[in-house]
């Protein structure tokens, strides 16, 4: 990006390479960042912003009444990617943050968020991120969020993201959320209201292992004429972990809604799926699908006939499933 596009840099001394190894690794895992991003960004580490840049099109401002930031994306913006990752490396930290995105009319933007926790202690580290998206008419948003935890202690890594989406007329939002590994407890809440012609596409991927538990809860109000939502969750539950999927689609107008939960259950894990669809209009077309099961034996056999061991075949199938 050209230098003149940088509107302001709040912390000019910030250098990603100066971050301690742990933090740098986390940023790479959750946001693919190995260098200072070109364009707008806000990097939050252990409860404070350690680096920020705004551009002509994207302004990031600290909230005055509560922790967090407001992100303003100018109408008509194109080709911008905004990074807002959060990392926690101090044990026992409880981090609560509110981020509000104001996406101007006809803007096209990609937002890369995510949270990485490194916890070697025996106390709980926790990040509760509350994100609100106010998406203007004809705007196009791609939101990518990755959650990841690591550390050698018994302390749990907890992440409870809440995402509230208001989609304006004929706007489009794609959410791609992934919980890679190491998150002991998560309660994901997503709420969305769609205006006329608005489209929402959600793709969620979750893997739990050990004694982890994950709950994911979607409620989508299809208010607008011609609005549509597609909520797809793919998950793998291993060891003694537990997962629960709730999806509630409400068709309040002429609309299309589809929710799908597809889960692989392994070992002693437990997965529940509770899809709900409500047609409040005769013009609403709503579908839900849910499938939970172990890895198909024939899939393992096919990969084993190609020379993989059963364990390698299992990993290959899971990698593909969550790709």
């Amino acid at each position: 990006m050209a230098e003149q596009d940088i509107k302001s840099i709040v912390n000019i001394d910030f250098d990603i390479k100066e971050l301690a190894g742990v933090g740098r690794g986390l940023l790479d895992s959750i946001a693919g960042l190995t260098d200072v991003p070109s364009g707008a960004f806000n990097i939050r580490a252990d409860g404070t912003s350690i680096g920020r840049a705004s551009t002509k099109a994207v302004e990031i401002v600290t909230k005055k009444d509560k922790p967090g930031i407001d992100i303003y994306i100018a109408p008509g913006t194109t080709g911008e990617t905004v990074y807002i990752p959060v990392i926690l490396t101090k044990p026992g930290l409880q981090d609560l943050v509110y981020n509000d995105f104001y996406v101007g009319e006809a803007a096209t933007v990609e937002i890369v968020a995510g949270c990485g926790i490194h916890n070697d202690s025996c106390t709980e580290s926790r990040h509760d991120g509350i994100h609100a998206f106010h998406v203007g008419k004809n705007a196009h948003v791609k939101y990518i969020e990755r959650h990841y935890g690591e550390g050698s202690g018994d302390g749990t890594n907890v992440m409870n993201p809440t995402t509230v989406v208001e989609l304006g007329k004929n706007s489009y939002m794609e959410m791609e959320t992934t919980q890679i590994k190491g998150v002991d407890s998560t309660e994901r809440i997503t709420r969305a209201d769609l205006a006329d012609g608005a489209q929402l596409v959600i793709s969620e991927k979750i893997m739990t292992h050990g004694k982890q538990h994950a709950t994911t809860d979607f409620k989508v109000e299809l208010n607008g004429d011609g609005s549509s939502a597609n909520v797809v969750s793919r998950s793998v539950a291993r060891d003694d972990s537990r997962q629960r999927f709730n999806a509630d689609l409400r068709g309040n107008n002429r609309c299309h809604g589809h929710s799908e939960c597809d889960a692989i259950v392994m070992d002693n894990a437990v997965v529940s799926s509770l899809p709900q669809i409500t047609a409040n209009s005769v013009e609403a077309e709503l579908i839900h699908e849910a499938a939970i099961g172990k890895i198909a034996g024939e899939q393992l056999e096919k990969l084993m006939t190609l020379g993989l061991t059963e364990r390698e075949a299992e990993e290959k199938i899971i990698d593909g499933f969550l790709k």
Binding site: R234, Q299, T305, L306, G307, E310, K316, I317, G320, F321
Partner: protein, 240 residues
């Protein structure tokens, strides 16, 4: 190369134990061996016993002189035995390229992976990044299944009814694939098939019926008898 000595296989069914294969003695040398016979005769079970998906109840299986009876599926695959499923398996998220890469056992660039797809008559560019899932037709899946076996490049491969579940147009191009394979192969290929056109490219034919080898020999020895047997006896009666 591949030798089955007195191989039997029984399976548990709702009606108790059923003998599927009974004292099979079989040898497959270099070239094309086509295994044919009536439905339910045990042909697919034979393929699964060879590839390790089924364990024989008794008897021994030798591959290049080594007793492989107790080797599992992976070990047999690594020993150089390949198997093409009658019903190709579908995956969520695994692409054609992923599968071919696993089959070849090494890192492949796109053009190398594409060679195997071109060999089975698929326009590689259109398929390489597609998921091996229900969006592909039966004929497409079948050809991808064969491509994975080609990518393994082993000395022995058994194909279980490659013609099953595909349309006539796909079948014609599939025959071409096998004819080409017939010309190029240096190892042994076993095809389980009912199709006359596949029988015609056989070096050897084995007829399995009721779980037993009914007859085996060269194509010239077996094929004429098979064609005769296929005439409906009742119609013969009317004509005479």
């Amino acid at each position: 190369m591949l030798k089955l000595v007195d191989v039997s296989f029984s399976a548990d069914t709702e009606r108790g134990k059923k003998d599927i294969l009974k004292n099979i003695d079989l040898e497959s040398g270099d070239g094309f061996t086509v295994v044919t016979g009536p439905n339910g005769g045990g042909k697919s079970s034979l393929a699964k016993v060879i590839s390790g998906l089924y364990r024989p109840t008794s008897g021994r299986i030798f591959w290049k002189g080594q007793d492989v009876t107790d080797l599992n599926i992976t070990e047999r695959a690594k020993a150089g035995i390949s198997y093409a499923f009658q019903q190709p398996v579908r995956f969520k998220g695994i692409t054609v390229k992923d599968l071919i890469k696993v089959a070849s056992g090494k890192e492949l660039n796109v053009s190398e992976a594409c060679e195997y797809l071109s060999a089975v008559g698929l326009c590689a560019r259109d398929y390489i990044d597609r998921e091996v899932n229900a969006s592909l037709s039966g004929g497409e899946l079948k050809r991808i299944e064969i491509a994975t076996v080609l990518a393994r490049n082993t000395d022995f491969a058994v194909f279980d009814e490659p013609e099953a579940g595909i349309d006539l147009w796909s079948f014609n191009s599939l025959i071409k694939v096998f004819e080409q394979m017939r010309e190029r192969t240096h190892g042994a290929i076993m095809i389980i098939s009912h199709q006359e056109r596949i029988l015609e490219i056989a070096d050897r034919i084995v007829v399995i019926s009721g779980g037993k080898v009914e007859k085996q020999g060269t194509k010239d020895e077996i094929l004429p008898g098979l064609m005769y047997d296929r005439t409906c006896p009742r119609l013969d009666g009317i004509n005479s």
